[in-house]
């Protein structure tokens, strides 16, 4: 027993180094490996699509990771992953050379302002919404609600949702300093339980009866209004590829853009198919009718 101890320890050391060297050697060889990384919104979509894709292509190995849009873009730029997913245009992300990346727009997602149920407000004008987030309006009674102070929950700086929201609603105005939350799920939980809160989340997360979705200028955030840009708060889900994609990456991107995914999976998840859009938007928020 006692004699075994030191032998055991040295054995483990050796085994560990062997494993490390061996795996380092063989991990580079898998040509069918496609790593998708970035936006958490795209993660669910890519993961499910990857699993379905694997059924048709048993030799494929699709690895899907989150980590945020910034991570996705910087990793695809560095060549560490095959596909980098993002909620924002690469052109709008500092430190990214967009000319080196090829953009595949996979889907569209609506962004919906939400408030706690006790505010008594169901509709705001764009101006009012902007004034709330810049701190000019501080009580719900100023916008026709109850006498209740407004608590703004903003989204994390640099996140795709926030960039889109600020670009479209605030324009050049600077948002007030407020609480910030990173994830849709946490924001939803906080807004549903804290009186007087307002925030905004991606459409797939807004299917919750414990929060109040807002309409803007009387327009409801439904699919119809988003596809025609009457509801302006929406963003693309991008998949970026650096240089020429390898065969499996190309096939997977084609699969994501195929009718099978666009007409079934994407609407099921609460996103809007890229084919349904009647307008396109560029990185400067210029909208062009198709």
């Amino acid at each position: 027993m006692r004699r075994l101890n030191s032998k055991k320890i040295s054995f483990l050391f050796i085994a560990f180094f062997l494993i490390t060297t061996f795996t380092t050697a063989c991990s580079n060889s898998s040509a069918n490996k496609v790593t998708v990384m970035g936006s958490s919104a795209m993660q669910v979509l890519a993961e499910q699509a990857g699993n379905d894709f694997h059924k048709d292509h048993p030799d494929s190995n699709i690895i899907v990771q989150g980590g945020g849009s910034g991570t996705g873009l910087s990793q695809v730029q560095a060549g560490a992953v095959e596909i980098g997913t993002s909620d924002v245009f690469a052109e709008n992300q500092k430190g990214i050379d967009a000319s080196k990346l090829k953009d595949y727009k996979i889907a569209v997602v609506g962004i919906i302002p939400i408030v706690n149920k006790g505010t008594g407000v169901k509709d705001l004008s764009t101006k009012q919404l902007a004034d709330i987030f810049t701190g000019k309006i501080t009580n719900w009674k100023q916008v026709g609600g109850k006498n209740l102070p407004i608590t703004v929950i903003n989204r994390s700086k640099g996140s795709g949702t926030r960039s889109t929201f600020e670009g479209l609603i605030l324009g050049k105005q600077k948002p007030m300093k407020a609480q910030e939350q990173d994830s849709n799920g946490t924001v939803r939980k906080i807004v549903s339980s804290t009186p007087g809160t307002i925030s905004y989340i991606s459409a797939p997360y807004a299917k919750d009866s414990n929060i109040q979705k807002l309409s803007l200028n009387g327009i409801k955030p439904n699919e119809q209004n988003i596809t025609t840009n009457k509801w302006q708060l929406w963003s693309y889900e991008h998949a970026y590829v650096k240089g020429k994609p390898n065969k499996m990456t190309k096939e997977f991107l084609n699969y994501l853009l195929s009718k099978k995914v666009q007409n079934n999976l994407i609407p099921q998840l609460g996103y809007i198919s890229i084919n349904a859009m009647k307008v396109t938007r560029d990185s400067n928020n210029q909208v062009i009718n198709n």
């Binding site: 991570t71 560095a78 939980k189 339980s193």
Partner: protein
């Protein structure tokens, strides 16, 4: 080589001499005879010495591995963290004292003061709240409870370590935050909520290390004190706790370390607003909460990203500061 042979010859002479000098003959040595003394074997390192080398080498390799690890992590963080000052030319003084945090807007908006204050406050408060409880539990386990009772208590306390911080965060969000909101008003998010959540999270760490500290106090100290007619409490307060103080302080450092580095749970209940905290229930942000929520949204090598690494570096330096502080107190306590 020559010298060695010479030495060996000398040794042989010494052995022979020793054999001759014996007044009472040693049976075994006599049997071997003076010429058969195995000098080679005598001059070689013994089995024990070889074991010693082996053991020392093995453990030194392990510590070396850890040192390499520590140096590489610290170096890594320092390189990234200092880039804010060397590449992006942020003024270090401003970094520490300004409360304007918006690194995306440029180098004049990198002020970490609110986060430094909040991190300090949260860590300190949670340690202050948790330490009396931890000491009470530890005393109960070592000085009061039966062996079985203390085993159960220890089991439950250790179980708390295994609960993921996300779960603590959500418990905080659904129980602590509304509770504070109902009693003190405001939104409920802030330093107080974070303190209460961290209190539970650091409790197991401080408790189990304090138990170890108390157990290490030799039993005869207690017996001596009781024999002098001291009450149970006098024994604990005047003897046991005094002896265990340095190690209890180490336990507190570890607890504080955990509180300091905790991110996911704090992020959910602190409110995550980079504002100088005006009171205990106003939303604020700690170094870790900013680090965690922002990391994924920044691009490696840009100012916002480097600024976050600077926060990590700051965290490291502050941990260092805490450590020295407590060591100083510990040294004073020993005197």
């Amino acid at each position: 080589m020559n010298l060695e042979n010479n030495n060996k010859e000398n040794l042989k002479d010494v052995v022979n001499q020793a054999l001759e000098d014996q007044t009472i003959k040693h049976v075994k040595l006599n049997k071997i005879g003076p010429d058969k003394a195995n000098v080679d074997k005598l001059t070689k390192p013994s089995k024990e010495t070889r074991q010693e080398y082996w053991g020392k080498g093995l453990t030194a390799a392990a510590i070396l591995l850890i040192i390499i690890l520590v140096v590489s992590i610290i170096g890594f963080i320092a390189i990234h963290g200092l880039a804010t000052f060397t590449q992006n030319h942020v003024n270090p003084w401003k970094f520490l004292t300004s409360s304007d945090w918006d690194p995306g807007a440029g180098k004049n908006f990198v002020g970490a003061a609110p986060m430094i204050v909040t991190s300090f406050a949260v860590t300190l408060f949670s340690a202050i709240v948790a330490t009396p409880f931890a000491i009470a539990i530890a005393l109960f386990m070592t000085e009061y409870a039966s062996k079985r009772g203390s085993k159960y208590l220890q089991f439950v306390v250790e179980l708390l370590v295994g609960i993921p911080s996300v779960v603590y965060g959500f418990l905080g969000l659904t129980i602590v935050v509304p509770f504070i909101r109902n009693i003190f008003g405001g939104t409920g998010f802030g330093i107080l909520a974070a303190t209460l959540v961290l209190f539970v999270m650091v409790l197991p760490t401080i408790t189990s290390l304090t138990v170890d500290a108390l157990k290490a106090v030799p039993d005869h100290y207690r017996k001596a004190s009781l024999a002098l007619g001291a009450t149970h409490w006098q024994t604990i307060y005047r003897v046991v706790l005094r002896v265990a103080t340095p190690r209890i302080l180490t336990a507190v450092i570890f607890g504080m370390a955990r509180a300091f580095g905790e991110a996911l749970a704090v992020q959910m209940v602190i409110g995550n607003a980079v504002l100088m905290p005006s009171n205990l229930i106003s939303p604020s942000a700690t170094l870790t909460s900013q680090l965690t929520s922002q990391m994924g949204n920044t691009v490696m090598g840009t100012l916002p990203n480097n600024a976050l690494w600077s926060l990590a570096l700051l965290l490291l330096i502050m941990a260092l500061f805490f450590n020295f502080l407590v060591r100083l107190i510990g040294r004073k306590g020993e005197k």
